[in-house]
Each structure stands twice: as structure tokens, then as C-alpha cells.
């Protein structure tokens, strides 16, 4: 039911959006999120349940790196 990979919103018509799951197009209900074309959303049972924060996604790896580097110094 839950797809771990985010989908990109291609177009919006009212509360319905067409999204792209890496090449596969699907229709999803947008009523639970504030999203715009170009956003990446997490989709569950036909509904977008959250919008992915692209900046945070890029920050995550950086944070991981810093944490590991810090441990290496401490060790």
C-alpha cells in the first residue's frame, strides 16, 4: 500500500494530481497536503500524505557524513 519512493507532481486539477513514479504515471488525491507542480510527494493508498523537503533531503547525507567524521575523531 505504501510506496517508499516519492512521486513528482506533473499536473494538478482541483484535488487530483497526476504524478510520476520514475516513469509510471498515477493519479493521486491531494486533499491532505499543500503541494504544487514540481513537488515530490509520499503517496499512500491513492493519497499524497506528505511533501518531500528537497533541501532536507540534501542535508541528510551531509549530516550523516559529519556525524561519522566526528566519531572517527573521537575514536
Amino acid at each position: 500500500m505504501c510506496l517508499a519512493v516519492p512521486a513528482e507532481i506533473k499536473s494538478i486539477d482541483g484535488t487530483t494530481a497526476k504524478v510520476d513514479f520514475g516513469g509510471v504515471m498515477r493519479q493521486v488525491n491531494l486533499s491532505l497536503v499543500n503541494a504544487k507542480v514540481g513537488d515530490f510527494v509520499i503517496v499512500h493508498a491513492g493519497y499524497a500524505i506528505e511533501v518531500l523537503d528537497k533541501e532536507e533531503a540534501e542535508k541528510t547525507l551531509q549530516l550523516f557524513r559529519e556525524l561519522l567524521a566526528q566519531d572517527d575523531i573521537e575514536a
Binding site: C2, V5, N29, I42
Partner: protein, 363 residues
């Protein structure tokens, strides 16, 4: 960009974990986490370095008790159109499964979400009951449909459940000593991180909300191991690219407006207080439990035996793994499942079985 599959970093994390000489047991409650763990062989990698990870009650179809399966079948037998997720079809009831009732002429449709069920009702003269199964990821979708003025002939048999009360039950039952919990990324997108805090505060359990890439899980284990070794117990959010601390307010509002918390039976557990969601009184004309009370109510309090020999209950409480069930892969397979953990694609036995076969096949 979002795949988070950095080989060098994976090696580094596993190396750091190995240096820590761990001997810990962790639990997660999500079929998608279990899929990542087994598919990438991470479970055995972790075991090798002293980290045992169990799937708890994190498969919605698996925790659905026999009563709700029987109610669904009784509604179908009464000529009502049932709209259900595909995973439910093969779950063995006392004498039949939904699949068998469908084969006998029952009008049972597989849907991908509640909106399909609403559409079905719109184009039908018959009563349509959507079987609402799932945690806080699915419950808001059912709520949203209930609140969007659905057709008169549409109702919901709410089998929705919420995760934090089940975590509380696991921690209080004390059957398994947990050194940390990996919390489900997508349930957390809806509820945020605050609802987990009591576990760290009251039960001293370190927690990390995690995403679904291998690196997410490695990082979660690493953060938990660090909390453990430093004597900390808190909720950390590794999945901040999707999970905000206070969750998704629209989804939470929809859930609150459509449902009220109720005590609920989970397969393998005693009644868990406030862990179920029943349709609010204001929406009761769309509540299948009220609309078809004559069919549903007599089943509510009946006792049902678990399938003979099936150890799903212990699986769902994290006490055993699939391999420890003597029926796994012999008498119980996805083609002939004995318990729901082998039926649902999110069930631990099904996941182990599908990748065990894949691994064997590749040798």
C-alpha cells in the same frame, strides 16, 4: 537524488557499529522497513554484528483480528458489495476466506484506496462497504473520503488502528527486552514525533524515526546504538526530509473529525486501550458497524481460535522470527497461507518467504 545509496557511507556505518561490539535487540513496526531489511540482506548483516531487529505489530492486515475478517465475510454473504485491499482476500477465516466467498458469487472488489470504493458506490445501486484497514497512514485517507460527502450507499467498516498505543502495550507487557525502536517513517509523517516521546520518558527506550532506504536503516541503528551506549533515551528523526515534528496537520484534523479513539483487539494482543478508530457519531450513516448492526454486532464479541499451529501472535509481539515457526515454508506458504503474516505482503512471514526463494534461486 533521494535514493540515499552511498556505498562508502554504508561501509563506514557498519564498520563503526562493528567496533561498538553490540548485543542489542531492536524493534520496528513497518512492513516496508522489514522489506528493506530482508531484501538487501541487512538483517543477517546486522545479526553478525550483534544487532537483532524484530518486526513487531507493523502489518495492518496481520493485526486485524479474526472478528473483523468474519464481519467482512458476513457482510459479503448478505449481498453487500465489499471493497477491500487485495491483501485481505486470502486471510483464512474460521472456515473460509474472502477469496472463497468471491468464488461462490460474493461481490467483493479489490481496491487500491478508499476513493475507488467511493467511485464504486457512485456507480452502483447497491450498498458498498469499504473495509478500512491500516494505521495512521491510511486512516486519514478514509477520513478524508468520509468527510467529503460520499454517496448514501457508501459506508466504512473501520478496522483502522493507531501505532503508539500498541508500542505502549509492547513496552508494558515486558515479554521482550528492547534496546531501541525504529519508528515508521510514513506513520510519522502524519503523527509527527511527539506521540513517541512517552516511550523514551517512561520506558527509557531510545527511538529513531527512519526512512526506507538501506542507508536510512543503517543510520537508525547507528543512532540507536549511540543513544544506548551513551545512556540516552530520546526520539531522533533521521527522516527529516519527510517527517516534520508535528506531523501533517491536515491529515490529523481529518482523522480527528471523522474518527474517535476506541479500545480495540489486535491479533496476538489483549485489548489495547484507545488503539482503534471508530467512525464518529455525526457520520454514523456511513458507519457500516451501525448501518448493518444486525450483521456485525453478533460477531463482535465472539471468540475465534487462531489457526492451528500458527505463531503469528508471537511474531506480532516480536518474540519469534518467521524461521522459528515450524510451519514456515513447509505447510505455510504464500500459495497456502495458514496465518495472515504469510498472506500480507507486509507480513513478516511473506517477506521472508519471498526473498528466501529469490536468494535460493540466485545461487
Amino acid at each position: 537524488m533521494f535514493r540515499l545509496r552511498d556505498r562508502e557511507m554504508s561501509r563506514q556505518i557498519m564498520g563503526e557499529l562493528e567496533k561498538m561490539r553490540l548485543d542489542i535487540t531492536l524493534m520496528h513496526v513497518c512492513g516496508t522497513h522489514q522489506d528493506t531489511l530482508i531484501r538487501f540482506g541487512l538483517d543477517s548483516e546486522f545479526q553478525r554484528i550483534g544487532v537483532d531487529i524484530r518486526q513487531g505489530p507493523g502489518c495492518p492486515v496481520c493485526v486485524t483480528p479474526p472478528q473483523e475478517i468474519e464481519m467482512t465475510m458476513a457482510l459479503a454473504k448478505a449481498g453487500i458489495t465489499i471493497a477491500a485491499f487485495g491483501d485481505l482476500m486470502k486471510v483464512p477465516g474460521e472456515s473460509q476466506s474472502l477469496n472463497e466467498i468471491k468464488a461462490e458469487g460474493g461481490d467483493i472488489r479489490i481496491v487500491f484506496g478508499v476513493d475507488d470504493a467511493v467511485d464504486l458506490a457512485r456507480h452502483s445501486q447497491k450498498e458498498v462497504v469499504f473495509v478500512g484497514i491500516g494505521f495512521e497512514t491510511t486512516a486519514p485517507t478514509t477520513a478524508s473520503a468520509l468527510l467529503s460527502n460520499p454517496p448514501e450507499n457508501f459506508s466504512v467498516l473501520s478496522c483502522h488502528r493507531t501505532v503508539p498505543p500498541a508500542l505502549k502495550a509492547i513496552a508494558s507487557m515486558g515479554e521482550i527486552k528492547l534496546h531501541g525502536m525504529i519508528q515508521p517513517g510514513h506513520v510519522s509523517t502524519v503523527i509527527g514525533t511527539a506521540p513517541y516521546e512517552f516511550l523514551s520518558r517512561e520506558h527509557r527506550i531510545p527511538q529513531v524515526v527512519a526512512g526506507f532506504e538501506p542507508l536510512d536503516l543503517m543510520m537508525a541503528v547507528y543512532l540507536l546504538a549511540k543513544q544506548q551506549s551513551e545512556g540516552r533515551a530520546e526520539v531522533q528523526n533521521e527522516y527529516s526530509r519527510v517527517v516534520r515534528p508535528d506531523g501533517n496537520p491536515s491529515a490529523l484534523r481529518a482523522m480527528r473529525d471523522a474518527f474517535s479513539p476506541t479500545d480495540s483487539v489486535w491479533r496476538g494482543f489483549p485489548v489495547i486501550p484507545s488503539s482503534g478508530l471508530s467512525v464518529r457519531k455525526e457520520l454514523e450513516k456511513h458507519d457500516a458497524a451501525k448501518r448493518f448492526v444486525d450483521i456485525v454486532a453478533p460477531i463482535q464479541d465472539k471468540e475465534y481460535e487462531e489457526p492451528e499451529g500458527c505463531r503469528c501472535g508471537e511474531m506480532l509481539r516480536g518474540i519469534i522470527t518467521s524461521d522459528e515457526c515450524p510451519l514456515f515454508g513447509t505447510k505455510c506458504t504464500p500459495q497456502n497461507p495458514i496465518g495472515p503474516c504469510m498472506v500480507s505482503r507486509e507480513g513478516s512471514c511473506h517477506i521472508s518467504h519471498r526473498y528466501r526463494r529469490a536468494k535460493k534461486g540466485s545461487v
